[in-house]
């Protein structure tokens, strides 16, 4: 469709004219005119909603909202075209079969071996070995070999040595969806462990001997402690309501030596609505400070993030400081349980704060234990009530920790943002389906590529320059401040307003330091070369050998290649609110014109700047657009598609 206008969300006056293309996988908008022919690519799988708005004089507006928080506003001249686009997109963004997803057609031009290598990057058996398992207390169990006991669990499950197959199967029958207690994390320093399960089917009075034995076995696997914590991550009221349905929580009287604890994290529906409310605030056109803060508070989002963190902190403390094992569950044990176990692991073990370790952590607590990626992130057309930003919240918890412990993580914010992006993009096979069983049936590893290999290949872009493996923050357990430090939890504009570059700091400390470190490395190498030359030269002078040095070229000038300072900026519309502060005195009719002149002139003068500079900025910062120099932080592949997503520049 030609002559489509792409609107700037912050300013209705900034619009780009161009052509809209629909392909099997992408929506592509190509700008007319400018030499660069700026392109905006949006994956169909990223689109969360399409809204057709009332036709105006200029055309028919189409609003596309994406799961990675991008918003695209298009105006299509012909109502008929608009309708066609709308109908096509509706169909394209609601695939019904996995085979329709992008990862099955995505081809990064790697050979078979490279693909297999990619899938081998993260290996959970290695991970349990790293924890020191199997050992005297824990072993691998093949009870779930053919998914016979629990179809949402992996085939290989780690359980206490004293838990026989009989106990496991018995226990599984007493747990929702047969998700019996299994090991998530083991602390080899003190034998304390984190186990996870679903809720027991206790109803008001039911009990199960095998389940009680199972918990007993977990306790015994930690000889240093005479009890275990059982943490129910639901609000007490929710757990009690479940009893009426024959589910519920452990009765302390029936289980010997447990301490039962509720930690109220709300359910997926509350979280979905909370995100929705927060995004509405982010979408406000020019919110006042009060609108924004009030809306943020009202959404409850940060409160939920804090609840998850507090649960993680509680468990990490129990394991690290008290040396007590913990069993965590919620209802089904695949949402809140995954959040809380992975936050606790992250706090406890510095390995998970490395790039590789973080991949392992997601693979362990989310992918292998049957977090329902397909349902939660709406990859296939499904029940909208199943959708919820569960892993988004975990990713934000990590970011909040990064803000509090700037030296503790090997990776940077961009790494988190790219992972979030690909959980929705369906470009890689890692997060397809709802369980390991489904993925195996689909032969994901043979037919798609692994995200981890892709991220690993580009790891230089994701390094936190402040990370040093010998730094004190990278050792041992992280101990974040607990309440009352509510103010430590901040709005993450880098994620939720990710595509509005104008809102972000114009210079990035991370990128600056990365550039400095890169230069430092080059300097180190050059120093080596120079020293060698010096030695050679001295030698040659001694022997009177006159060697004409042609190495001059080598000593190239090393200026900071990515100096950010060249970026100029353009003012925002500070005078936007001119209208709300009527500057017009009754006698003066054309005052408003002047207000208009002010902004329009400004626009004309600043527009070229904007595009040029934004490119520069984005080269280092932006996920979505590749700067001419190849900023190199693209999630997309070398398949010739330069920008996988949008060049949606505020």
């Amino acid at each position: 469709v030609e002559n489509v206008r792409l609107l700037d969300r912050l300013s209705s006056r900034k619009a780009a004219l161009g052509t809209l293309y629909l392909t099997a996988t992408h929506v592509i908008f190509v700008e007319n005119g400018s030499e660069t022919r700026k392109e905006t690519w949006v994956l169909h799988s990223q689109i969360s909603s399409i809204e057709k708005q009332a036709t105006t004089a200029t055309g028919c507006p189409l609003l596309i909202r994406c799961k990675n928080f991008q918003i695209m506003q298009l105006v299509i001249p012909q109502e008929r075209d608009c309708h066609d686009v709308y109908i096509s997109l509706i169909r394209l963004t609601r695939p019904v079969k996995y085979e329709e997803l992008y990862c099955f057609s995505f081809n990064p031009k790697l050979d078979k071996e490279e693909r297999e290598q990619g899938w081998k990057l993260v290996n959970l058996n290695d991970e349990y070995n790293r924890m020191g398992i199997p050992n005297n207390y824990w072993q691998i169990s093949d009870v779930n070999r053919d998914y016979g006991v629990c179809d949402s669990y992996p085939t290989e499950v780690y359980v206490p040595k004293s838990a026989t197959a009989h106990i496991i199967v018995g226990s599984s029958k007493f747990r929702s969806r047969r998700r019996f207690p299994a090991l998530s994390y083991y602390c080899k320093d003190n034998n304390a462990s984190i186990c996870r399960s679903s809720q027991p089917l206790s109803g008001f009075s039911a009990r199960c001997l095998e389940d009680e034995q199972m918990l007993q076995a977990i306790r015994k696997a930690n000889p240093g402690s005479d009890f275990i914590y059982v943490v129910d991550t639901r609000p007490k009221l929710n757990a009690m309501a479940n009893r009426a349905a024959g589910k519920g929580y452990e009765n302390e009287d029936n289980y010997s030596n447990i301490k039962f604890q509720f930690i109220g994290i709300e359910n997926i529906h509350v979280m979905r609505n909370s995100l929705q409310k927060m995004l509405e605030v982010c979408e406000l056109k020019s919110p006042s400070m009060s609108d924004f803060l009030w809306g943020l508070e009202n959404s409850g989002w940060l409160k939920h993030i804090k609840a998850i963190m507090d649960a993680g902190i509680f468990i990490a403390k129990a394991v690290a400081e008290e040396g007590v094992s913990v069993l965590v569950h919620c209802s089904d044990g695949w949402d809140r349980t995954a959040q809380v176990c992975s936050v606790a692991s992250l706090l406890l073990d510095p390995y998970y704060r490395t790039m590789k370790g973080f991949m392992v952590l997601i693979e362990k607590d989310w992918v292998s234990f049957g977090h329902k990626f397909n349902h939660r992130y709406g990859n296939l057309d499904g029940d909208p009530k199943e959708i919820s930003p569960v892993i988004d919240q975990f990713i934000e918890c990590v970011w909040q920790l990064m803000e509090q412990f700037p030296c503790a993580f090997e990776f940077n914010e961009r790494f988190l943002i790219h992972i979030q992006h690909h959980i929705y993009s369906c470009q890689f096979g890692n997060f397809l389906c709802n369980s390991q069983k489904e993925r195996r049936e689909l032969k994901i590893q043979e037919r798609t590529y692994s995200l981890w290999a892709h991220l690993w290949k580009n790891r230089a872009d994701y390094l936190n320059p402040l990370y040093r493996s010998d730094h004190s923050q990278t050792q041992g357990t992280l101990r974040p401040q607990m309440a009352p430090c509510n103010f430590l939890y901040k709005f993450w504009s880098g994620m939720y307003n990710r595509f509005e570059k104008g809102l972000h700091p114009r210079q990035s400390v991370t990128d600056y330091l990365m550039a400095v470190k890169e230069e430092t490395q080059q300097l180190e190498e050059e120093l080596e070369v120079l020293r060698e030359r010096l030695v050679n030269l001295q030698k040659s002078q001694l022997t009177d050998n006159k060697v004409k040095s042609k190495q001059q070229d080598q000593s190239k000038q090393l200026g900071l290649s990515t100096s950010n300072n060249s970026l100029a900026n353009t003012p925002q519309e500070y005078s936007n609110d001119l209208k709300s502060f009527p500057s017009r005195s009754p006698s003066q009719g054309d005052e408003e014109d002047s207000a208009l002149i002010l902004t329009q002139d400004n626009l004309k003068s600043s527009d070229p700047d904007l595009s040029a500079n934004s490119d520069q900025e984005s080269g280092v910062e932006d996920l979505s657009c590749r700067s001419p120099s190849g900023g190199g932080c693209l999630p997309s592949e070398d398949s010739g598609k330069d920008s996988d997503e949008a060049l949606f520049l505020a």
Binding site: S288, L293, C485, R506
Partner: protein
């Protein structure tokens, strides 16, 4: 007056000091004329706390049996608690502190007694003189002149003795204009934008009153800054409503009919007690110990502090935009022209002028646009967030300005030569200091108090390399461009370095800062090494060649 009279109990032993994030320590408390000194001589870590009485904002006392507790709340927002055994001692100490922290005579303040322990390399009182500033200006334009009309502070008591005005306007006209402006603050040059020759002026409101008085000289004066056929902008820092109401009290705003070449834009920046209330609420929220996440954001919102930040920044950006993008001259004023006006003019300069983003340039800006421009520091900074005095003239105007600078610094972390600590240091010294720089309300008062002769300037201390190193931003790379900050709510943050300074653990952030410094330091060392080697090699090679040529 002898301070000794006020000190009833000069010393108490076995006092326990409590501070957040530190273990309680036992030690000895001493009171002197200007300081509260707590020292613990514990074998493992002896430590001393020196607190200026003038830094104390409020003091509370409590008793449990004969153990007295004094809670001291400081103007820099820190709160400490002292447990003092003995009811009488405790009462004596509390009342002494109360008396000493509320001395009403300026000349009893510490700067008049302070004897510096460092060598004075440069007298800060003479570091930033108007003549130097004018010299810089004369090198780029000859349209302006230095007027000594206010030599004896006779025309405008809150202006400095010399001001920069358009060359075409003589002193006689200035006198007439002064009569037409509130507090005689006639329009003077605030900033000259080299890039396009546009200027920013500041003044107070015109005294048009209800009957629309006009002053031809005033019109002539501000028109003198316009290029032929060009328009200028008047940024009134009050809402139109407030400006209209001001007419009833003899004030007002420039009527379009009399200033046809000027467009007036009203921005609404709050003043006085509204700001002070906002600060009090914000600090209260930051100190809230409740565990409830709900309350925090709504309290932050209710304080309106960030709203004020947004308004001030927006007005400053607008002024800068008019000058740089519209190529128009700007006049900024509110009512008196001593508060919101200065916030706008000084922030606009930080946006426009790279020089103001250097340490020296920023100091010069503070001197020009705040001290010499007659911001009444002594009145505004008499009390801070914990005091109950609630005087109309108390207001965190300068703190808001520093906060705005911090917001810009956060968005452009590589464009400032100074760091956050520099701004925090300035905040502290405006409220309590051993230096005389921020005493008095204007140059007139300062000269009457003979501050340059009797006290030490803050700049004499700061501008020594030992101190400067603490305030330098390791990421700084001179950026000659105009920097446009974002004023969207998502882009503005609470200034934790000031408001959460005493209630959050800063260890991990400090470590990150150190790491940053060491990364850059190592890089510079390597660079130096490489350069040295290169030079050595080059020399050897030329030697070589010379030998070859022989």
């Amino acid at each position: 007056m002898e301070f000794a009279e006020l000190i009833k109990t000069p010393r108490a032993d076995n006092v326990v000091l409590h501070r957040p994030f530190y273990l309680a320590v036992e030690g000895t408390l001493c009171l002197t004329g200007h300081h509260l000194i707590f020292s613990s001589r514990r074998q493992d870590n002896a430590e001393e706390l020196w607190l200026l009485h003038s830094n104390i904002d409020s003091i509370e006392k409590r008793f449990v049996g004969s153990l007295g507790t004094i809670i001291i709340k400081c103007k820099d927002l820190r709160i400490i608690q002292l447990d003092i055994p003995g009811m009488e001692e405790c009462l004596n100490i509390a009342s002494s502190i109360e008396a000493l922290s509320t001395l009403d005579s300026v000349t009893l303040m510490y700067p008049f007694f302070y004897r510096p322990m460092f060598e004075i390399v440069e007298d800060g009182w003479r570091s930033f003189l108007p003549d130097q500033e004018f010299e810089l200006l004369s090198s780029v334009t000859d349209e302006w002149r230095l007027s000594c009309i206010n030599k004896e502070f006779s025309v405008c008591p809150s202006y400095p003795p010399v001001v920069i005005v358009p060359k075409s306007i003589d002193d006689e006209a200035l006198r007439k204009v002064a009569m037409f402006r509130h507090g005689s603050r006639f329009p003077v040059l605030s900033y000259y934008h080299k890039k396009n020759g546009m200027v920013m002026m500041r003044s107070s409101q015109p005294l048009t009153g209800t009957n629309g008085r006009r002053c031809k000289e005033d019109e002539k004066l501000i028109n003198a800054t316009l290029r032929p056929g060009k328009r200028g902008y008047i940024i009134d820092t009050r809402s139109l409503n407030v400006a209209q109401q001001a007419r009833a009290k003899g004030g007002g705003f420039e009527q379009e009919a009399h200033y046809p070449q000027w467009r007036r834009i009203h921005k609404c920046i709050e003043r006085f007690n509204i700001l002070q209330e906002s600060l009090i609420k914000l600090v209260e929220a930051c100190n809230d110990q409740s565990h409830n996440m709900d309350r925090w954001l709504s309290k932050l919102e209710a304080s309106n502090w960030l709203t004020h930040i947004k308004e001030i920044l927006t007005a400053a950006c607008l002024a800068a935009q008019c000058i740089d993008r519209e190529g128009a001259s700007v006049l900024v004023h509110g009512t008196e022209g001593t508060d919101s006006t200065l916030q706008v003019t000084s922030l606009a300069q930080i946006i426009l002028d790279p020089r103001c983003r250097t340490i020296r340039g920023f100091e010069s800006l503070v001197v020009r646009e705040w001290l010499q421009a007659g911001h009444p520091f002594q009145q505004r900074c008499a009390q801070s967030a914990y005091s109950n005095s609630k005087q109309k003239w108390e207001a965190p105007v300068f703190l808001l300005f520093l906060d705005c600078v911090w917001q810009i610094l956060r968005q452009f972390p590589c464009s400032f030569e100074f760091n956050e600590q520099f701004l925090i240091m300035l905040f502290e010294h405006t409220y309590a200091s051993q230096f005389g720089t921020f005493l008095g309300n204007n140059e007139n008062e300062r000269s009457k108090l003979k501050l340059p002769q009797k006290t030490m300037s803050l700049w004499s201390w700061v501008n020594r390399s030992e101190e400067l190193s603490k305030f330098q931003n390791p990421l700084f790379e001179a950026n000659s461009l105009v920097i446009w900050p974002s004023v969207a709510p998502q882009s503005l943050q609470l200034w934790e370095g000031v408001f959460l300074r005493w209630n959050r653990p800063s260890k991990f952030l400090d470590e990150a800062h150190e790491e940053m410094i060491s990364i850059i330091k190592y890089n510079k060392e390597l660079q130096a090494k490489v350069n040295a080697l290169r030079r050595q090699l080059a020399e050897m090679e030329t030697d070589d060649r010379m030998q070859e040529n022989l």
